[in-house]
Symmetry: C2
Amino acid sequence: MENIYAQFPQDLTREHFSDLVQSEHVRIERIISRGQSSPESGWYDQEDHEWVIVLEGSAGIRFEDGREIVLRKGDHVKIPAHVRHRVSHTDPDNITLWLAVFYR
Amino acid sequence: MENIYAQFPQDLTREHFSDLVQSEHVRIERIISRGQSSPESGWYDQEDHEWVIVLEGSAGIRFEDGREIVLRKGDHVKIPAHVRHRVSHTDPDNITLWLAVFYR
């Protein structure tokens, strides 16, 4: 048994990614951010579908079609494979804790 | 976009299960409990692997080999397919909010 709030990193100048589950068809990832965003050119274009929830903090996701959503505690969204998106911002003052499930 | 804390049921005399994602290889489920447990004979014996996290409240899981774990906010555990287990208790006074990912 592990705890998703445990082993929080000290260095929050970069984002931290850790796999909680990795199997043939699914990967579950914990992401910790504070103030980071994707670079302007940094679109995610993923082979897998993604379901992502914000457990703490808040973050914006911008889609290539111009749509932007802001996720706060408990908000979750499905991002189909190859729907290009980027993180437009994360809370600069508090940790944003994401849980992402990637699947075929 | 949806929120995992939204649309909490009024009737907590039974558990509530809702699918957040359902695809060929993965199913993500929200479970809301308050005080329920599996019946003494009610072992779960699942075809799929399960990764489960408690987001609010607390709950016990007992395994067929006698081992019991208690999960509190943020605790998560992997339960391989066909590892028989039951929910030994959930917090009787507060909602227990589970997020479960079932995968092949």
